[in-house]
């Protein structure tokens, strides 16, 4: 593919001025590098037309590989949008994320004190290997008997991950193989992170689970981030026990890993929607505890984004949909496991398809190629504006009933209902609101 030709936004036929009153482009050319749900969403969007190969595009949903090869050589008109930030890996590569978070924490401690910095203690003790090997060993020796998890920096879907309790296990591993200190191409060399394993995860009916939450960032400077209301909990198919640390099926909850587990039943689907989880936890622990928990989870998103705010190359053409993986421990403390720049958009079931379809559709609503939004919205589809260069406060009350913004409330299923119950429904939807 010739790299020079990657221009987008051909000036002739279309005006590059976006009109505020909603009169946007009449036809939006898109390019899509993936063949899953996003393909359907783009295809079915009115007025959007696919262009292939070298055609000029206004919108590009690309994979990170394409980005790496082509971004730097592309000229993009003002209106053009692309689905990744150039150096997203500052947030999504485990070793870089850890580095950025640690640095942010230090700054915070210096500037705002211990207490404030403690709010960044949502990631388990982590060391990048091989560079931090020696400090890792010190920490390891300080807590004998604890379990650690080794994760390759740039892999996904649970590949290459293992647990260990003895240094011996990794000393052997370290000696073996072609780990080079030179990092010519980040994609090639496998750096690893060693992370303290959370040995007391919160279990439901004896099973471990993690949370997948979607966060859409449309700008880093200023930071504007949206939180999708419909996340889900992914369950491990087998009962949790620390006695079998070799059984990766027990410990890893990715759907990709679970699919290969011997007793995996594809009919079964091992996910709960976020509402369901919240219901369950509220019934167990009471409303306030769970409210606090979700506020703390919001805190994780915001602080992780702030920590890379200055490192990520901000570009008005870029937006990014992240998949956050959060784990709860038995004290209901949330931990950040990782951030994915390319969360899986392949659906595992009909319900999953619908969730991802809506997610992507709403993402496109926010990116707003059609120029329909006023810019003042706090809710678009299933997304709530979580951070807009500062915390966002919700307007609870009757305002939303009269508003004309694009609130497609997927929780409502009533054609005719009284105002009282409509307000009631609205309050139900506003349950998971950004922290104030």
């Amino acid at each position: 593919m010739s790299k020079n030709k990657q221009t987008a936004g051909h000036k002739g036929a279309y005006s590059s001025q976006r009109k505020k009153e909603g009169e946007g482009r009449s036809c939006i050319r898109y390019r899509c590098g993936l063949t899953n749900t996003i393909q359907d969403v783009l295809n079915q969007r009115p007025g959007w037309v696919e262009v292939k190969d070298d055609g000029e595009w206004d919108f590009n949903w690309c994979d990170v590989g394409w980005l790496r090869e082509n971004f730097d050589h592309s000229y993009m008109e003002e209106h053009v949008r692309i689905s990744h930030f150039r150096n997203h890996y500052e947030l999504t590569r485990k070793n870089l994320m850890v580095k950025n978070l640690k640095r942010y924490r230090k700054t915070l401690e210096r500037e705002a004190g211990r207490l404030e910095a403690a709010r960044c203690d949502f990631f388990p003790c982590t060391f990048v290997l091989p560079s931090e090997y020696h400090i890792f060993v010190e920490e390891f020796k300080r807590s004998p008997g604890s379990t650690w998890i080794m994760k390759p920096v740039a892999r996904s879907q649970g590949k290459g991950i293992f647990l260990f309790r003895k240094l011996k296990d990794i000393i052997d591993w370290r000696k073996d193989g072609s780990r080079s200190e030179e990092q010519k191409d980040e994609a090639q060399v496998e750096s690893y992170v060693a992370q303290r394993y959370i040995e007391n995860p919160y279990l439901i009916a004896g099973r471990k689970f993690d949370l997948r939450v979607y966060v859409l960032v449309t700008s880093y400077i200023p930071l504007k981030a949206w939180l999708y209301r419909d996340g889900f909990a992914r369950f491990s198919n087998t009962r949790f026990s620390l006695s079998s640390i070799d059984d990766q099926y027990v410990h890893l909850t990715n759907v990709a890993v679970q699919k290969t587990a011997p007793d995996y039943d594809p009919e079964k689907g091992c996910k709960w929607q976020m509402q369901q989880l919240r219901q369950y936890l509220t019934a167990k622990h009471g409303f306030e505890t769970v409210q606090t928990l979700f506020k703390e989870i919001d805190n994780i998103f915001i602080r992780s984004l702030i920590s890379v705010q200055k490192t990520i190359i901000n570009d008005k053409h870029c937006f990014e949909l992240y998949g956050y993986d959060i784990l709860l421990d038995q004290d209901l403390k949330p931990w950040l496991i990782e951030v994915n720049a390319s969360p899986s958009l392949t659906a595992s079931s009909q319900e999953d398809y619908e969730l991802k379809y809506r997610l992507l559709e709403d993402t496109l609503h926010i990116v707003d190629m059609e120029g329909r939004l006023t810019g003042k919205e706090k809710r678009v589809g299933g997304f709530d504006l979580m951070w807009n260069d500062g915390p966002v406060y919700t307007d609870v009350g009757l305002e939303a009933l009269g508003s004309s913004c694009l609130v497609e409330n997927t929780l409502l299923d009533l054609e005719k209902c009284s105002i009282a119950s409509l307000a009631h429904q609205w309050i139900l939807c506003s349950e998971w609101v950004p922290s104030e």
Binding site: Q276, Q279, A283, L411, S418, S421, L428
Partner: protein
């Protein structure tokens, strides 16, 4: 005469049991104590005097009116043709159980060898990982069989004309029972009125005093407007009078021991049911293990037999032979007298959301079963029985949505054929869990299953427009296939209070 007093004392014991811990009970006690201080009381006639004085003070407790010579079955179910139908239904179930037994060559009950006992003890918390020995057992298609039985019910005293008129009943249930219509239902459920707030998911942080005062009757009243999610577990426990006391835990442990020692044929039915229903459900799959723990114990709980005092069904019996083969005696099989059927585990599954200590979960489920769920699979004329619920559903639909009913009838889609499965399961597995729990709040609050029939009609009313356009049973089923997005309370409120009558 002996029979009467024995019967009476059973009733009284039951009533006393249920009254314990309630406000009414303490009031009665107080009144009775006051009576004791009156001068007219004599020790010899203490009982009669107290009774007389209580009556005079305005408190009476009358036994249900009946003929003094009526045998217990007649009290439980006064209509002869219903009793007969129930007996036939039971025969069918028993026959299928026996043929299963013969086919598989498994005994009805067998003592487990010690290694097997040990293995089961170790795996108690993860029985879901086991592949049960024989899930090829056929379980009868329960719903359709049961529906056939209900449809076939006929009151021999009625002459039925085949003409379809405005005045005839268009539905499948052809017996006339007294069921409530909308005006009467409004009177029964005033707290569902449009001006009453209904609790949804917006919990109050303020704990209502009913919880701290352990007031069961007040808790029941409270739950009529819904329970807050954070308090539902406690409130239901209060309403059902299940306690955390050591007795309950011991009882559960005993049942568990029975499961370990003996394997029952009906266990296979349980395994199959759980694997096919709850484990395949998007939300309940997580609780698979709990379901086994509850249901296997339930089958062995002879305390459940008490509910046959007011259940018109009869527990099935089996003959066991003594080792020498010379003697036979009849025992109830399974020990609790209830043969599980396809979908049975769905009565338990929603409760797993509220309780995760096994003995607590067990107690609540058992109480729910012996108060409500048993009525959903036995043939009786009780207002909360499955027959009445089906009839009520059909009548409500015919009265308030005649065009829809007629249309569906014409295209061969009798509404009950679609709604039956919802009613039998009290909507478990069809509504989303939070909505289901709101519905069950009202079942407990009003001590009646009628709300299930009303909701079924309300669902049809809600989707009436779409249903008017369909032209086959299959498409009608499709319109009503997915209820997971429905909000129960607005639907009920509109149907009951915003429909013109």
């Amino acid at each position: 005469m002996l029979d009467e007093s024995a019967e009476l004392s059973v009733s009284i014991t039951q009533i006393v049991q249920r009254l314990k811990g309630t406000h009414l009970h303490s009031q009665l006690e107080k009144q009775a104590k006051e009576c004791l201080h009156k001068p007219e009381i004599k020790l010899e006639t203490l009982k009669d005097d107290v009774r007389r004085l209580l009556k005079a003070s305005g408190m009476t407790c009358l036994p249900p009116p009946r003929h003094p010579r009526a045998p217990p079955e007649h009290t439980k179910e006064p209509l002869a043709y219903m009793r007969k139908a129930q007996v036939n239904w039971e025969k069918r179930i028993l026959k299928s159980l026996n043929s299963m037994c013969t086919e598989l060559g498994i005994p009805l009950a067998r003592k487990r060898p010690v290694p097997e006992q040990n293995e089961l003890t170790n795996k108690w918390n993860e029985m879901g990982t086991d592949e049960p020995g024989n899930i090829e057992t056929q379980s009868p298609c329960f719903h359709s069989d049961m529906l056939k039985v209900l449809v076939g019910l006929k009151n021999p005293n009625n002459e039925r004309s085949e003409d379809l008129t405005v005045r005839s009943h268009w539905g499948l249930i052809q017996v006339s029972l007294n069921v409530r219509d909308i005006p009467q239902t409004r009177e029964m459920y005033p707290e569902l009125g449009l001006t009453y707030g209904q609790l949804g998911i917006d919990d109050h942080t303020h704990v209502p005093p009913v919880v701290s005062e352990h007031d069961s009757a007040a808790a029941q009243q409270y739950s009529r407007q819904g329970c807050p999610t954070g308090l539902r577990a406690q409130l239901w426990s209060l309403i059902l009078n299940t306690t955390d006391d050591p007795e309950a835990i011991t009882h559960y442990e005993q049942l568990k021991a029975r499961v370990i020692h003996h394997d029952l044929l009906v266990d296979n039915l349980i395994y199959k049911d759980v694997k096919l229903t709850a484990s395949n459900d998007d939300y309940y799959f997580v609780f698979e293990d709990y379901l086994y723990q509850v249901l296997l114990c339930f089958s062995r709980d002879t305390a459940v037999l008490e509910h046959f005092n007011y259940n018109c069904a009869t527990p099935p019996k089996s003959c066991i032979q003594s080792k020498s083969g010379s003697e036979q005696c009849a025992v109830v099989y399974p020990p609790n007298g209830v043969i599980p059927f396809h979908g049975f585990s769905m009565y338990v599954a929603p409760l797993c959301f509220l309780y995760n200590e096994p003995s607590k979960l067990y107690s609540v489920f058992r109480e729910m079963y012996i108060r409500y769920f048993f009525r959903l699979h036995s043939v009786s004329s009780h207002p909360s029985g499955i027959v009445s619920l089906c009839l009520q559903f059909e009548r409500l639909l015919q009265t308030h949505l005649p065009q829809l009913f007629y249309h569906l009838r014409e295209i061969g889609a009798q509404p009950l054929r679609i709604a039956f499965k919802w009613i039998v399961r009290a909507f478990s597995g069809y509504l989303s869990t939070d909505q289901l729990l709101l519905l069950w709040d009202r079942i407990l609050g009003y001590d009646s299953l009628e709300i299930v029939a009303v909701l079924a009609a309300a669902v049809f009313a809600f989707r009436a427009e779409n249903l008017m356009e369909v032209t086959s049973l299959a498409s009608a089923e499709a319109v009503l296939a997915d209820l997971s997005t429905l909000k129960v309370m607005p639907l009920l409120q509109i149907f009951l209070f915003a429909t013109s009558v």
